[in-house]
Symmetry: C2
């Protein structure tokens, strides 16, 4: 049986209350007593039961984190930083991979509430999941509009889209196509596409966009078939950009002289595996920092309801595909 406070008290020869006082540094405690208690805890290999503690203090120091999948390098890196910063503040992470499925998202939300998390960070969101509006529970969205009452942190997607498109134009491209993931999500990431369209129009160029539903390869083939004169592609993330490069090489296009590609995200993993890819790098660490900052302030009821949207600057990385 796991030892409890009363067991520690017996071994140390003090009262349970005294042990609790030592644990929580409350009231008067003598130096010798503290030592006796510490020794007893070590001897019994005692660990305070945070479940019991949480029940009483009505706080778990748990943060629920919902993203589509840790497999994607962007989310993997973002979650790493979130966990990291949270841990430094004494918070622990309950991990949820929603996989873009509404029902999973809903059931995770129930689960997190049953577990009495102190707050939720979510970057997954299907239209129609209204369950995020929980009056009693702080929630922060990352790159996703969850509800009018929920603060969002994202990078400057519009500026990123603008920079990417402008770069291609500056390099002399005219037949620039944008390709993005599922657009039905109400996400600030759609601004990348909007910026692309705006910049194209400003330059009297016709915007053409494709959308992948997951099968990147098929859509990209179609794109090339339907647009033989395409001279560059702005992909809404680096994975798609990579598939584009692949297909372009198969079609004997010369990168970057004959054909240019720029991606989006600029994760550590992409930089390592595909350093030649030009891309728009998101400030992942800063997004994590800001998100936790807002969330913990809401948890401690110091939330600033005036700033509902936080936008962080992106950085253009010019490499060898542009």
């Amino acid at each position: 049986m796991k030892p409890k406070i009363s067991d520690v008290a017996k071994v140390a020869g003090v009262s349970p209350t005294t042990v609790s006082r030592v644990l929580n540094n409350r009231g008067y405690i003598g130096e010798k007593t503290r030592q006796k208690v510490d020794e007893a805890m070590k001897q019994l290999n005692y660990f305070p039961n945070d479940v019991a503690r949480s029940l009483f203090i009505k706080k778990t120091f748990l943060i629920g984190v919902i993203f589509p999948t840790t497999t994607n390098p962007f989310y993997g890196q973002l979650i790493f930083h979130i966990e990291n910063i949270a841990a430094s503040l004494g918070y622990k992470i309950l991990l949820c991979n929603s996989q873009g499925q509404e029902d999973k998202e809903r059931s995770y939300l129930r689960m997190l509430q049953r577990n009495q998390v102190d707050g939720i960070i979510a970057g997954a969101h299907n239209r129609g999941v209204k369950e995020y509006d929980i009056p009693t529970l702080p929630v922060v969205g990352v790159d996703r509009y969850l509800s009018e009452n929920i603060p969002v942190v994202s990078s400057d997607n519009y500026d990123g889209g603008r920079q990417a498109t402008q770069l291609l134009i500056n390099k002399g491209c005219r037949n620039i196509i944008h390709i993005n993931g599922p657009i039905y999500l109400e996400t600030p990431a759609n601004l990348r596409r909007k910026a692309y369209e705006d910049v194209m129009k400003d330059n009297q160029l016709p915007p053409i966009t494709y959308e992948t539903d997951g099968d990147n390869q098929a859509v990209i083939k179609q794109l090339f078939d339907e647009n033989p004169r395409v001279d560059s592609i702005f992909a809404s993330d680096d994975l798609i950009a990579s598939a584009v490069i692949r297909e372009a090489k198969l079609r004997k296009r010369n990168i970057p002289s004959d054909f240019k590609v720029i991606g989006y995200d600029g994760t550590e993993t992409t930089r390592l595996l595909l350093p030649e890819l030009s891309t728009i790098q998101q400030p992942i660490r800063e997004i994590a920092e800001k998100t936790i900052d807002i969330l913990t302030k809401e948890i401690n009821e110091e939330g600033d309801r005036s700033q509902m949207e936080t936008i962080l600057p992106v950085r253009l990385i010019e490499s060898e595909t542009t």
Copy 2:
């Protein structure tokens, strides 16, 4: 204030015990009563408090997961599958990024015990962290020997190393160099190197190994400088392999005619970003499955202490760098 069982009872016009009976499906419950209770719960937006429940039943359905970092695509994908399978069994994941630091690992272990996790899955391990030997708590290691009493799940690293080396030899390479990450970890992954050395010796070829401490690029440059005649490299993971390719291209080596590279891991992300890389693919999903299978059996005290090591087969992916 969050509603509790007694609030639900009041609204439904029944006793708290009856509500608890409905929640746990225990004893006799009338259909009308069940409906009244369900409605009351919906009306109050009631969620059972799992903290209180856990305290009483002495089970949290929490699994602590400790790996170096979710940023690495191998761990990201592994954790995704672990979370996924765990969720389907009603378990939740407490995520820990140890970053290869002993002190972090230790403090995570304390944290997990305080939180009364039902079990721990760990793939991080620094020599000297003996705290994994927790008599009362099921632990399973992934690709890491944590202690003599802790079961390990890994892929067949020796066979992977053998296949990789043999492939290079079969392709006519003779100056094959192995490069791996920090080797001081007591990990089955060291078998990759052992296999490389064995195969080389079997073929009367001198094994040469390099070790990176994190700064891949520097070590790789040094490797090329010191071994101008190197004709192929077996890297212990795909990220290193990618850096090797990078450097080889800088040195105008022609891949694969003039110079060959094979990596290790074969994650989804690598396959997407660097599909041309030949590699040894680990069965990540199966590793996750087996790990959880062993862990849950230990949690339910159906553990099979005879099988302390589980080794799953790897798969050679021949692509364009060999």
